[in-house]
C-alpha cells in the first residue's frame, strides 16, 4: 500500500527516460509513512543504522548490476561475501592459541588484501568457466555458490570466527565525520561505478555487450575480456562487502550472506536493471536496495512482528516489480 501512490500522472512525455527514477517516489512515500508511524524514524541514528545495514547488500547489488548490464549473472556473490573473509583470516591467524586454528602464512596486516584477492580469484574462475569453456553461466555460478559455501563451512568447521585482526575489522566498525565509514566507501564506489558507466568507453561497452554482444564485437569491443573483468570486479566487490560485514558485526558467521542472492536480484531488478542485459543504471539499483531496507525499517518501527518480515519482503518485491513495469512501460520477459 505504501507504494501505490506514485503512479505517473502524464505518460505522454518520455517516461522511459526516467525509468531509473521510478523508485524515488516510492522512497519518498516510505519516508512520509515512516515519519507518521514513529518519531524515531527521522533521526540520524535510525537513518545511519539503516544506511550501514544497507552497505553490504548494496555492494553485492552494485556487483550484480554491473554483471547484469553486461548480460551475465553471478549467483555465487552471496557465498563470496562469506568465504573470502574466512580464507583470508585462515591464512593469517596463528596456527596455535585460539579457538580457530589458522595457517599463519601471512602477516596480519595483509588480511584485507588477501580477502580481495580471493574475491578476484573467484570472479576469474567463474569467468574462465563461462567464457573460455563456454559453460552455462547460471549453472556454473550456482555450482560455485554451493561449492564456496561448503568450503567456508569446512574451513571454519561450521563455527563463527570471533578472533579477528583489528586491521580487518576497522573499516566495518569505524566512523568518519560521524557517519559510518562503510557508508562513505559505499557511496564512493557507487559514484565511481556510476560515472564509469556514464562517461567511460569501457563503461558504455557494458551496455553494448549486454544489449547485443555480436554487434559489440563487430564494433571492435573485446567482449570476452571486458565480461571477464566485470566478473572479477564483481568478485572483488563481494569480497569487500565481506570485509565491511565482518567489521560491522565483529565476527564471521558461518552463514554470512546465506540466501542474500534473492534480495540482490530483487533490489537490482526493481531498480530498473534488465535481467536480459543492456539496460539499467547503478543509481536505479541503489534505490532498489534502499527501498527494500526502508520497508523493513518502517515495518519494524511500526511494530510489525519480525516474523512477518520475510513475507513482507517478498510482497514488496512483487509490488515494486509491478510499479517499475508500468512506469517504464516495458515488459519484463
Amino acid at each position: 500500500m505504501a507504494v501505490t501512490a506514485p503512479a505517473p500522472a502524464g505518460r505522454r512525455f518520455d517516461i522511459a527516460r526516467y525509468r531509473d527514477l521510478s523508485l524515488v517516489p516510492a522512497l519518498l512515500v516510505l519516508g512520509v509513512i515512516g515519519f507518521i508511524v514513529s518519531p524515531a524514524f527521522l533521526t540520524a541514528d535510525n537513518l545511519l543504522g539503516v544506511g550501514q545495514q544497507a552497505t553490504e547488500l548494496s555492494l553485492l547489488v552494485l556487483a550484480q548490476a554491473l554483471i547484469l548490464i553486461a548480460g551475465r549473472m553471478d549467483l555465487s556473490l552471496e557465498s563470496t561475501i562469506g568465504v573470502a573473509p574466512v580464507i583470508a583470516v585462515w591464512l593469517v591467524l596463528p596456527d596455535h592459541g585460539s579457538r580457530f586454528i589458522g595457517l599463519g602464512l601471512f602477516p596480519e596486516w595483509s588480511a584485507i588484501l588477501l580477502c580481495l584477492a580471493v574475491g578476484a580469484l573467484i570472479g576469474a574462475a567463474n569467468g574462465f568457466f563461462i567464457l573460455k569453456l563456454r559453460l552455462n553461466g547460471f549453472i556454473v555460478t550456482l555450482g560455485a555458490l554451493t561449492l564456496l559455501r561448503g568450503l567456508q563451512v569446512a574451513i571454519s568447521e561450521g563455527q563463527s570466527i570471533v578472533t579477528l585482526p583489528s586491521s580487518f575489522t576497522y573499516l566495518g566498525r569505524t566512523s568518519w565525520l560521524g557517519v559510518p565509514a562503510a557508508i562513505w566507501i559505499c557511496a564512493l564506489l557507487f559514484l565511481i561505478g556510476g560515472s564509469a558507466l556514464a562517461w567511460l568507453r569501457h563503461g558504455r561497452s557494458l551496455y553494448a555487450i549486454g544489449g547485443n554482444a555480436e554487434a559489440a564485437r563487430a564494433a571492435g569491443i573485446r567482449v570476452d575480456r571486458i565480461t571477464w573483468i566485470v566478473l572479477i570486479i564483481g568478485g572483488l566487490l563481494a569480497a569487500f562487502a565481506g570485509i565491511l560485514y565482518t567489521g560491522h558485526y565483529g565476527s564471521i558467521s558461518a552463514d554470512q550472506g546465506n540466501g542474500w542472492i534473492f534480495q540482490v536480484f530483487a533490489a537490482t531488478v526493481i531498480g530498473g536493471v534488465s535481467l536480459n542485459g543492456g539496460r539499467g543504471t547503478l543509481f536505479g539499483a541503489l534505490t532498489g536496495v534502499l527501498t527494500l531496507q526502508l520497508v523493513v525499517n518502517v515495518m519494524t518501527l511500526a511494530g510489525v512482528p519480525p516474523l512477518w518480515n520475510q513475507f513482507l519482503n517478498g510482497a514488496i518485491i512483487i509490488v515494486a516489480l509491478i510499479i517499475s513495469r508500468f512506469t517504464s512501460g516495458e515488459k519484463q520477459e
Binding site: R204, A208, G211, N212, E214, A219, G220, G278
Partner: protein, 518 residues
C-alpha cells in the same frame, strides 16, 4: 607486392581465394573485383560461398590461398581491425545496432572518447553524430534511442557508421531482406547518392529485380566457385538464373501457371467481413473461393500482415466475422482457427515458424500432434511416417526426418513451415511472405506448393509485398494504411500494383465493389 601501385586500381581485388572449413569447401579459387564508384552485385543460391567471401573481404577470416588487394595495396594484417575498417565497410545481414543506446552512441560505439580513461563528452558526441549523419544525408535525431527508429533508419545509421571509418567501399549483405517496398526505395535512393560521391558497393541479394534496378555489374557464385562476371545490361534474367542454378530453366514459365480464366466454385471457402483491429486496419472484407489464390499486397504499415495473423487467430479483432466453408470461426484463438481448417505460414520463420534445435519431423507435425497416436500420445513411428510423406510431397532436402531443422538451408526450413501449415489438411492456407529470404529455386517450389493447394480445390491467401509472391495469385487486393485501395485481376503490371501499395490512387477503383461483396 613488387607490382607498381596503380594510380586508381579496383577498390577491391580478390583472386584465387580458397577457404575450407573441415571437409566443407566454402570457396574454391574464387575471384571478384570492384572498380571505384561501381555498384557490383554478388548473387548465388544459399551455400554458394557469398557469406564466406564477405567474411574474408572484411578481414574476419583468412583465406587459405589467394591474394586480396584494396586500391592495389596488400590487405592489412589479420586482426588489425582499424586498418580493415578504413578499407572496407560492411553492413551485415543481422543488425549491429544496439537498441537501448542512442543513435549517436551507436555511431561511435567503442570510440565515444579518444582514450579509454578520458570521460565521454556527450554534447560533443551528439555534435559529431549530427555532422556524420548530415554528411551522408541521413535525417535521424542523434539523441533518439535506436529502438525507436524504423528499420530503414537503423540501416542508414549502420551505413553511416560503416563509412565513417574512411572506407570508400561498402558491402551490403542482403540489406533489403527486412525492408518493405518504401524502405527499399529509400535505401536505393541513399545508395545512388552515395555512389555519386564515389562510393563503391558490393550488393548481395536474393532479389534479382533489385540487382537490375541498382547495379551495373553482377558476379555469380555457385557451389563455392566463381561462375561469371558481366555487366547487368548484358545478362538477361534467364541467363542470370541459369548461372545461379547451373541448369537451363524449364521453358520460360515457372512450373505453375495462372491463367486468370479458371472457374472457381461459387460459395466462398473463406469469407471475412467487416474486420477491424485498432491501430492496424479498418472494416476489412474479403472472400476467397475454392481453387483461388488471393494476394493481399501492402507495405509494412498497411495492416496486411495483421489481417493474415488475425485470420490465423493471433489477434482478436475489435469487430467483424471470419467464416470458413460457411461456418463462423471464433476469432483471436489459434486452436479455433486450426480446427476450422485454416493453415498458417507465419511472417518470420525464425521467430514464429520453426523450433531450430528440434527435428524436421517434430516441426512438421507440431500442428497435428493429436493425430499421431491414441489417448494424447505421440507415437514416434507415426510422426516419422507423417514427416516422411511431407518430405517427399514438398521435396524437402534433408538428411532425414530426424535431422534438426537448423541444419537445413533457408528454403528448406521454409518448406518445413509450409509442411506444418499443410499437415492439418486445411481448407484455407494463409501464407505471410512465404518466400522471405529463400533462394530463387526454393521460391519457385514454395509458390508452386501454394498453387497446388488451390488447384486441389482449397483457397490460399498470400500476404506479401513481394511482386514475385503476388504473381502466383488469381487476384490481388492492395492495401494502404489499413484500407483496401485497389484490386487487380491477374495480369496487373508491376507499376500499377506498386503504385497502389505506395498509396497512389489505384487505377481499378471500379473493382473495389468486389472486395466488399459477401
Amino acid at each position: 607486392m613488387a607490382d607498381p601501385i596503380p594510380a586508381r586500381g579496383p577498390v577491391v581485388e580478390a583472386d584465387g581465394i580458397s577457404k575450407r572449413f573441415g571437409a566443407t569447401v566454402a570457396l574454391s579459387d574464387a575471384r571478384i573485383s570492384v572498380a571505384p564508384g561501381e555498384s557490383h552485385a554478388l548473387v548465388g543460391r544459399n551455400g554458394a560461398g557469398k557469406s564466406t567471401l564477405v567474411s574474408i573481404l572484411t578481414g574476419l577470416q583468412n583465406p587459405d590461398t589467394g591474394t586480396l588487394r584494396f586500391n592495389g595495396e596488400q590487405a592489412p594484417a589479420p586482426g588489425d581491425t582499424d586498418a580493415w575498417r578504413s578499407k572496407v565497410a560492411c553492413v551485415y545481414q543481422r543488425s549491429t545496432i544496439i537498441p537501448a543506446l542512442t543513435v549517436a552512441e551507436n555511431l561511435f560505439l567503442d570510440r565515444q572518447s579518444s582514450r579509454a580513461l578520458r570521460p565521454i563528452g556527450w554534447k560533443q558526441l551528439r555534435r559529431r553524430a549530427t555532422e556524420l549523419l548530415a554528411e551522408y544525408g541521413v535525417d535521424v535525431d542523434p539523441s533518439a534511442r535506436a529502438e525507436d527508429l524504423t528499420v530503414e533508419q537503423r540501416q542508414f545509421v549502420e551505413i553511416a557508421r560503416a563509412l565513417s571509418f574512411g572506407a570508400r567501399f561498402i558491402i551490403l549483405d542482403e540489406p533489403t531482406a527486412k525492408l518493405d517496398a518504401r524502405g527499399i526505395e529509400q535505401l536505393f535512393d541513399k545508395l545512388r547518392s552515395l555512389q555519386e560521391q564515389g562510393v563503391a558497393f558490393l550488393f548481395i541479394s536474393h532479389h534479382l529485380q533489385e540487382v537490375y534496378d541498382l547495379c551495373t555489374t553482377v558476379t555469380v557464385y555457385r557451389d563455392a566457385r566463381h561462375i561469371v562476371t558481366a555487366p547487368v545490361a548484358e545478362l538477361s534474367h534467364h541467363a542470370l538464373v541459369e548461372a545461379m542454378t547451373g541448369e537451363r530453366t524449364r521453358g520460360t514459365e515457372p512450373s505453375w501457371s495462372v491463367t486468370g480464366e479458371r472457374h472457381f466454385g461459387d460459395t466462398p471457402l473463406l469469407d471475412v467481413s467487416g474486420l477491424s483491429l485498432a491501430g492496424a486496419y479498418r472494416n476489412f472484407s474479403l472472400t476467397a473461393r475454392p481453387g483461388e489464390v488471393v494476394g493481399l499486397a501492402g507495405a509494412a504499415a498497411s495492416g496486411n500482415v495483421q489481417i493474415g495473423e488475425t485470420i490465423a487467430g493471433l489477434h482478436r479483432p475489435r469487430s467483424g466475422t471470419i467464416t470458413v466453408a460457411g461456418r463462423p470461426v471464433r476469432t483471436g484463438r489459434v486452436p479455433a482457427a486450426l480446427a476450422a481448417g485454416i493453415g498458417f505460414v507465419p511472417e518470420d520463420r525464425h521467430i514464429q515458424g520453426i523450433i531450430p534445435q528440434r527435428s524436421v519431423a517434430e516441426n512438421a507435425t507440431l500442428t497435428v500432434t493429436d493425430q499421431l497416436g491414441p489417448f494424447g500420445t505421440v507415437l514416434p513411428s507415426r510422426t516419422r511416417a507423417f514427416a516422411q510423406r511431407m518430405i517427399s510431397d514438398l521435396d524437402i532436402k534433408t538428411p532425414g526426418p530426424s535431422a534438426p531443422v537448423s541444419a537445413l538451408s533457408g528454403g528448406n526450413q521454409q518448406k518445413v513451415v509450409i509442411a506444418r501449415a499443410l499437415a492439418t489438411n486445411p481448407q484455407v492456407l494463409v501464407a505471410i511472405r512465404p518466400t522471405n529470404g529463400v533462394d530463387i529455386k526454393s521460391k519457385e517450389s514454395l509458390l508452386g506448393t501454394v498453387r497446388q493447394v488451390a488447384d486441389a480445390g482449397k483457397s490460399a491467401l498470400i500476404v506479401s509485398d513481394e511482386l514475385d509472391d503476388l504473381r502466383v495469385c488469381d487476384r490481388v487486393v492492395a492495401m494502404f494504411h489499413g484500407r483496401v485501395v485497389a484490386e487487380f485481376e491477374h495480369g496487373w503490371s508491376d507499376e500499377q500494383l506498386v503504385a497502389a501499395m505506395e498509396g497512389m490512387a489505384g487505377p481499378t477503383d471500379t473493382k473495389e465493389s468486389h472486395v466488399s461483396h459477401n
